[in-house]
Amino acid sequence: MLDQKSSLSVTKDCDLLYAKARRDGIETVWERHEAQQPQCGFCDMGLSCRICVMGPCRVDPFGEGPQTGVCGADADIIVARNLCRMIAAGAASHSDHGRDLVEVLAGVANGSAIGYKIRDEAKLKRLATEYGIAVDGKETLALAGELAQEMMEDYGMRRKAIQLVDRAPQKRQEVWKKFNLIPRGIDRETSEMMHRTHMGVDNNWVTLLLQGMRNALSDGWGGSMIATEVSDILFGVPTPRSTMVNAGVLKADQVNIVVHGHNPVVSEMVSLACQSQDLLDLAKAKGAVGINLVGVCCTGNELLMRRGIAMAGNHLMTELILSTGAVDMMIVDYQCIMPSLGKVAGCYHTKMISTSDKAQFPQMEHVEFHPDNAEKKAFDVVRTAVENFTNRKGAPFIPVEPQPAVGGFSVETIISALGGTADPLIDAIKTGKIRGAVGIVGCNNPKIKHDYGHVTLTKRLIENDILVIDTGCVSVANAKAGFKLPEAAEMAGPGLQAICKALGIPPVLHMGSCVDNVRILVLVSALANALGVDICNLPVAGSAPEWYSEKAVTIGVYFVASGVTTHLGPMPPITGSMNVVKLLTEGLKDVVGATFAVEPDPEKAAIFLRQTIEGKRQALGLDSRSVG
């Protein structure tokens, strides 16, 4: 057991449930992280290479031992190759999620995706128009089929450029053209990245990293953007909704079903099944008051954005939520699902269901969902969950009362809340009431006190009149901290407070899941276009205070490559090459007008981000405050 000098989290439910989990003899992510110490310094610095079998190799950071791998790659090449493979993996993950949605869209068009439908025809038409499809006089389903085909082409190799880069401001596209960063195909860039990092291909660490940026852009303006847009077409464009967050959203007297993972393709069908009268009747017969569907991780965010469904927790809470003993079933799809969950659930009555043909886990029952059977499978698993209600072992431990929050801010709703144009926001930025905006995104990581980075940074930024937009695991942290209510305007600085009160919005806007980071790209593009500048000129920044995953690396890189200076809490594995460190933290400014900064302490990160924003304001000729 950890020598717990201080608490692991800034959230009460985490600490209370951690204590419960330990009493129940459960090993959590924190014990496993402790057991891994010290973590391998070669790997931590990016200096180990497992790419070929002349190796594995490692480079001595102290300069006495080997300075190159067997192939002759030096520290710069090895670090760059390793980082680029992280980018490729992250891009592959989000973009494959997007591919699954395109398949559902195609399935809706040809009638094979039973139970799915086009929920937002207007958005379908807008997208089709963007893809150059003639919209007039076409049936909705025919249009959906054509759009799916066009999007499939984005994944392939026949294009010179993927379609949605056209959404970027002209000046940004010119920057990309100049450095050959325009992605040609979503899968193509990932494949080429893997090719270039094979032994004996690209051994120039600079051109490797440039391809890394093009690969990340193929996700940000390609796969992820398609994922978000097609989700909106199939499940609806999010609008602001009231919801509840933290472990208190579990209900002792209801059947609790938790969805975990990322893709709404599964969770939306589960959500429909939970409303089935037959199953609600069955729940009553089993002694439950109802069926309570809640989310963890990003598939929860997808449901929250569109249905107002409650969120029980974020990444580091996923094991602890099971230790309530209140979860009758957890249904997972893919990404960020700890393989430990099945074992944790084994201590309780919780049934664990994996659903994706590409993601199986120990000690989980596999019920494979496909677009043609998802409706029926969802009904079946929800029935199993209801039947499991009577198997609970003792009274559940639900340690806190739920915290209300508002989520569901798509770009469309933000613009409509502003009265149809971005002008009020731009005016507020120009007059300095709002200094700028920061997108705080990403994960949890046991290296950083749970949610401390997210909550502290958000608090400091809104106090200083900086609008915060968040996605993914950050959004749960911030909702739990109470930042997502209109009343939270009180916590903001005077300028931001006035704007929030006038519009009736919270100072922290929940923009969705981690693929929904692309909504931030669309929003900053709209702002840049309205001001006639490039994204890198805007008083905006990005931050991932507690990131852990390869997907987060890709997001960070597509933010920076799009011109958004981005702060990272944990250090990526690059310190083995100070050349790579310098390029990412300084040199990229001359390439894409934005850089990375690494700072684990959110108090110091807040100062850095404020300085960044005030600096951009000054360059735009707006008033600027000194930060120090």
Partner: protein, 199 residues
């Protein structure tokens, strides 16, 4: 006389010394073969985590006088005069753990050993790879350490070198740091992360 010298500031925590040690003390002699062997050979060098999660390779110092030797009533611990290595006689060890209680460094472990008596745990610790050294090899942990945290040399030589490094650092240029920049950067970040947990 050469011995294994530990340079803790160089340890990157990769634990390769542990794998090499267990392999060197297996019957099979290869890493994969050693993992399949029963009883399982185990490392006699132990990488622990420091306050800032920095690695520290902890191994027997072959003390003189050796508290473990003094504590061993069974007379199972002796010293090889020519090399100074403190050795445990596998057949005389009675598994009483007195040596472990006396050891100031916590580097004596108890388990069955591929070369020990069958079905009986005994005290196991670093033997300075005596079997390798007589063949002209250096200790396995030193051989695999690519960061220079373990060296095989006379202590006086190591200390003279360190003395020279310290002296030079005193008069060194400001832009000529003692530790490579990337190493210093990672250490700084790790400390900062851990300090957040105290808040």
């Amino acid at each position: 006389m050469n011995q294994v010298v530990v340079h803790p500031e160089r340890c990157v925590g990769c634990m390769q010394c542990m794998l090499a040690c267990a392999t060197a003390h297996s019957r099979n002699g290869t890493l994969f073969g050693a993992t399949l062997e029963r009883p399982q050979p185990k490392p006699r060098i132990h990488v622990g985590a420091g306050r800032f999660n920095e690695g520290f390779p902890n191994r027997c110092r072959h003390c003189q006088p050796a508290p473990c030797q003094s504590a061993c009533l069974a007379g199972a611990i002796n010293r090889i005069a020519s090399t100074g290595t403190v050795m445990i006689n596998l057949d005389r060890c009675i598994n009483c753990a007195s040596c472990a209680m006396a050891c100031p460094y916590g580097v004596i472990r108890f388990h069955e050993d591929p070369f020990g008596p069958p079905n009986r745990p005994i005290a196991v610790k670093c033997d300075n790879c005596s079997n390798r050294v007589v063949k002209g090899l250096i200790p396995a942990c030193v051989e695999v350490c690519k960061a220079g945290a373990l060296t095989w040399e006379a202590v006086d030589d190591a200390m003279r070198r360190k003395n020279r490094e310290v002296a030079r650092a005193m008069t060194g240029e400001a832009d000529c740091p003692n530790v490579p920049a990337g190493v210093a950067l990672l250490k700084f970040i790790k400390r900062a992360e851990l300090e957040l947990n105290e808040r």
